[in-house]
Amino acid sequence: MGDTLLQSNIFTSKRAITKIQAAIIVVIIVVGAIAGAYYYSSISQPTVQYKRTLIIAIPEEPENLDIQQVSWSNEIHDLVFQNTMNFDDKMNIVPDLATAAEFDGTSIVVHYSEDAKFSNGNPITAEALRDAMERYRTLSPYGSDYDTVKEVEIVDEHTARIVLTQPSTYVWLNDIPVVYGAIVDAKAAKDVGDAEFGLKPVGSGPYKVKEWIQGSQVVLERNDLYKTNLPFVENKGPNTYIDEVIIRFIPEDVTRLSEIEAGTVDIVRGVPVDAVAKLKTDPNVVMYESLTPGVEYIMINMKKPPLDDVRIRQAFNYAVDRDEIAMTLEGTVLPCHVYMSPSHLGYSDSQEELGKNTYPYNPDKAKSLLAEAGWTDTNNDGIVDKDGQPLSFSLMIPIDEPREKRIGPLLQSQFAKVGIRVEIREFDYRYIRDQTRHWNFELAGRFYSWHDPAGILPYLLHSEYGNYTYSNPEVDKLLEEDFLGALDTPAKTELYMKLTKMWLDDAPWVPLFVNREYTAVRKDVQGLHVMPPFATLFIQDARVIAPTGQQISPWASLLMNMVLFANLAYVTGRKDDS
């Protein structure tokens, strides 16, 4: 009895309480104090909190994660592999994995630092480079890139000399500074087999593959052995601010945009045309813009009469109003009259000037060219005809190229204005590419993207390499000069100026525009570099600031609520007593 009295005195209550009640009260106070301390410490911390995971949404899943087994590379390859050299923002070739590399026209000497390592810890040596190049030659669809490579000499453990069969810039410009030419651990690939290596490849990039959930996402984790010599990144080692990069595959445009609006992804690639204007005004999003090194164009089947008549092909070029197209595409493209883009090596502004002067928008000129070729509108139906046949073609439009898909009807109406009837047929782009190669088409919407014209234009405009319908022996000869020859940039520029003139005269294509590629990035992501020519993401210096505001863990807030509730109940109980 005396004990109870004592306790009741402590709590200054007139009524006695039991030991159990006392224990509960003590527990509540202690827990409350801890939770309170936790709460105040969490809101009084002034330092910036960083999110440890970067989430990137891309439209399409890669075929394979091994760069040597794919026909197109994506963001994952850029993070898992490391280019030997790289491009800076002026398209100069600068060191990346290699400390330096020298090119003298007939050979390339690559120097690695002594502690260069793959993400699995294996050393990167001259021998490793030779093995990787050998593997690329046999495995990659682009294996013929190394046709000009005679051998890889091992100068010493960390220096390799790539000896070329003839003077050629091909490997130096098309493999050394791009991800396709990045080194892979060929020994590791041999051990696990190519199929397994395709799921979990080993490179030397800033991140390595942790997990690939088919159809959904790839999770990358930091490669702590990463080292780079890139001059434009400050942090030359692993990025300690970002532990994981998740790359999600979200094919549906609306879904991808909703995710960035909600802030559930940090970076979105492949921003659709319709969304560009909206995202540019979104205060939470920063837009990066870059010109694609390539052109979107209509390919004309030159083997199919009457398209073999140059006047008709020229008429197409006069009939297209490229400014109207750019307007319809809300300024997300740059009107283009020629066969190369401003982001190309060897491009000069005088090219576009020449193109503009050769083919200004001029429907009357188009009509007179058609009339010259014998096509006039004799029956007044608005379509020109000859021998009772209307001038009518089918135009293949790729459904998976949103910009071309969108302007299909506009092209149709522009051609109709000069009296050419065009029927639109929509197909998957891969199918169109295949059909144009088999000359099984009339007009086809096409595009290309590659930074060195020598690495792409011969495949499109040379009569043998590409085997399309265009064939001009003089063009072939000039293309071969750069394809296999050693051209520095001024010589390249001069050569492509000559070629541009010939292409404009022959008009095998109707060039339309150059794409602007957009990358939408949440404002919280800082220190990101988006570099030409392919708008490659460099996240070495990136940090993701965690959302501001008081961040209390759900358990802490639950606990706090419980304490609050308990206190309230206790106080109310006391009141009733008195």
Partner: protein
């Protein structure tokens, strides 16, 4: 039960040539599709010699019947070959997606039955009353709504604005399943409800139901035992016939929500002319169709004693 087992066994035996025939037919049709798979995969900067080399290494230079024979012989040993595009084993690609497909379709199946049938019964019993109109109005709404639109609306409302569920993806466990599952299931519930209502109305007009009422049986007994049991037979059969199409046909839902199921795999493979993957997926769907048909037969036989599993001896 012995009769049932024998019946099932016979059906399975018939099913085998069906599956073989389906794959053969598909193989022949695919080879008629214009377009060269190697060209489709390879980018622009690939020489013709390289293309020929690749074609040879995939065995595409062989005559069609030999290609089919090789494929079939390998499948018999459980080897579905390698995808042209991803260079991964087809079995790996399919097995990676199958769980997601089942996660999406199995609840759809169960829920459409569990909710659809009672809704249909309620509507039928209250024919011409407000509850009939309300149930049928709502189910018409969901049944006729394009999946694409329904999916986007659910995503915008519950994902973007209310933030109750993840907008897309498959990696947040059950939460990420909710929206795609709803998009997929709501039209099915509506469909089952409509069929259940029609069947129920038909059965309620039958003589034996009238007799049951006249006998003075309690209404629950009349409805559940006499009417519902018979009305369920067509619903059940329909159900099992639909099942395989559900598995292959969730492409839209999968695309909208970035859900890694088999539908999108099949769709993508067709666009890329990735023959081995198409063959693999269709093979599995063909097997599922056979299994579902057999199961459907057996279930309806147990529900309806008039359907005999064995023909009567003459």
């Amino acid at each position: 039960m012995g009769a049932l087992a024998r019946y099932a066994f016979k059906k399975v035996l018939i099913g085998i040539p069906v599956v073989v025939f389906v794959t053969l037919l598909l193989f022949l049709i695919m080879k008629q599709v214009p377009g060269d798979p190697i060209r489709m995969i390879a980018g622009e900067r690939v020489t013709q010699e390289r293309i020929d080399e690749l074609r040879k290494s995939w065995g595409l230079d062989q005559p069609v019947y030999i290609q089919y024979f090789y494929w079939f012989a390998k499948v018999m040993t459980g080897d579905f070959g390698y995808s042209y595009v991803t260079r991964q084993p087809v079995s790996y690609l399919v097995w990676a997606r199958l769980p997601y497909t089942l996660e999406l379709t199995f609840p759809a199946l169960v829920l459409s039955y569990v909710f659809g049938v009672p809704l249909g019964v309620i509507a039928a019993l209250g024919r011409g009353k407000s509850r009939d109109y309300v149930t049928m109005g709502i189910s018409s709404f969901f049944y006729s709504m394009p999946t694409y639109w329904l999916g986007l609306m659910l995503m915008l409302v519950f994902g973007l604005y209310l933030r109750w569920f993840p907008i897309s993806g498959s990696t947040s466990g059950f939460e990420s399943l909710v929206l795609p599952m709803l998009t997929f299931t709501l039209p099915f519930i509506a469909f089952s409800a409509r069929i259940a209502r029609t069947e129920m109305l038909e059965v309620l007009g039958e003589d034996y139901v009238r007799t049951a009422w006249a006998k003075g049986l309690p209404s629950t007994r009349v409805i559940l035992r006499h009417a519902l049991r018979n009305a369920l037979i067509p619903v059940t059969v329909m159900f099992f016939l639909d099942l395989p199409w559900i598995i292959g046909g969730a492409v839209i839902v999968e695309t909208v929500f970035s859900w890694p199921g088999m539908g999108s795999l099949l769709y993508k493979s067709i666009l890329r002319l990735d023959y081995p993957v198409i063959q693999g997926v269709v093979f599995i769907i063909a097997i599922l169709i056979v299994i579902c048909n057999i199961t459907g037969d057996i279930v309806s036989a147990t529900l309806d004693p008039r359907i005999r599993v064995e023909p009567e001896k003459a």
